[in-house]
């Protein structure tokens, strides 16, 4: 639902480290992360300001220097679960640079730890999220929402 793009002046492997190494993530993400880069592994984020909420979640897909996908939700259980995807590609005109695409989309239900519940959630997510349409759905909301938040 959210999509952002960034071109960074480092090769994909270096960007991957910045995105995944707990020593590096804390410096820019706004949370410290504890995780293992293995599909199905649990993850935990602690707010580095100390004031905010912790989050917990599950690593979903790991393709080093290419794609990372994880699901997360507030530790307090208030607020939707969502799925975050990082996609890394060498920048088209400069192999020393990398194009990062970040997507975050809310999920229909909390992933549980059982494989069956997680499989059901994945099926729901696949049915509910046609990525082309969700990008346009986000635009539609911006155009049609009666309350324009902020400026």
């Amino acid at each position: 639902m959210i999509e952002r793009h960034l071109i960074v002046p480092v090769v994909p492997e270096t960007l991957w480290e910045a995105l995944t190494d707990p020593q590096e993530v804390g410096a820019w993400f706004g949370h410290q992360v504890e995780w293992e880069l293995t599909p199905g592994a649990p993850a935990r984020w602690t707010d580095t300001d100390g004031a905010g909420q912790g989050r917990v979640g599950v690593v979903e897909e790991v393709a080093p220097a290419r794609r990372l996908r994880f699901r997360w939700w507030p530790e307090s259980d208030e607020g939707p679960a969502s799925e975050v995807t990082y996609e890394l590609e060498p920048a088209p005109d400069d192999p020393e640079c990398t194009h990062l695409t970040v997507r975050e989309a809310p999920l229909p239900e909390r992933p549980e730890t059982s494989a069956r519940a997680r499989a059901a959630t994945s099926a729901n997510a696949t049915v509910a999220w046609d990525m082309w349409d969700t990008r346009h759905a986000g635009l539609w909301i911006r155009l049609h929402s009666p309350a324009r938040v902020g400026a």
Binding site: V8, G30, V102, T134
Partner: protein, 112 residues
């Protein structure tokens, strides 16, 4: 907070066109909507059901008729989610960009 149901409801062009028509013409019956939508009345009823479950349309009974009307306020949490989460990523990516640019200019990369 059920923004996922709102986004899922909006992820279909027929449902978006139904909402568009309701916002332009006010409350309509399923039959009236089916006349101006290129799908069957049965399909329109299914779409209206999903839109109602997501809180995007409300059912109003006037005599023997059921009219469907836009519940405009329901978009607000979805809009707020986009703004809040989008803003978080803007901040994070700015910080990531600065960090990597600083590293690059300090010669942090291994030479070719």
């Amino acid at each position: 907070m059920n923004v996922d149901a709102v986004f899922a409801a909006l992820a279909d062009p027929t449902r978006r066109s139904v909402l568009q028509r309701l916002s332009e013409q006010g409350p309509l019956t399923a039959t009236e909507l089916a006349r101006v939508t290129p799908v069957s009345r049965q399909a329109v009823v299914k779409h209206l059901s999903q839109l109602a479950d997501a809180g995007l349309v409300g059912r109003r009974r006037t005599g023997r008729e059921v009219r469907y009307g836009l519940e405009a306020g329901t978009l607000d949490p979805a809009q707020a989610w986009l703004v809040e989460v989008g803003g978080q990523w803007d901040r994070r990516l700015r910080a990531l960009d600065e960090r990597l640019a600083a590293r690059q200019s300090k010669g942090g990369e291994a030479g070719p």
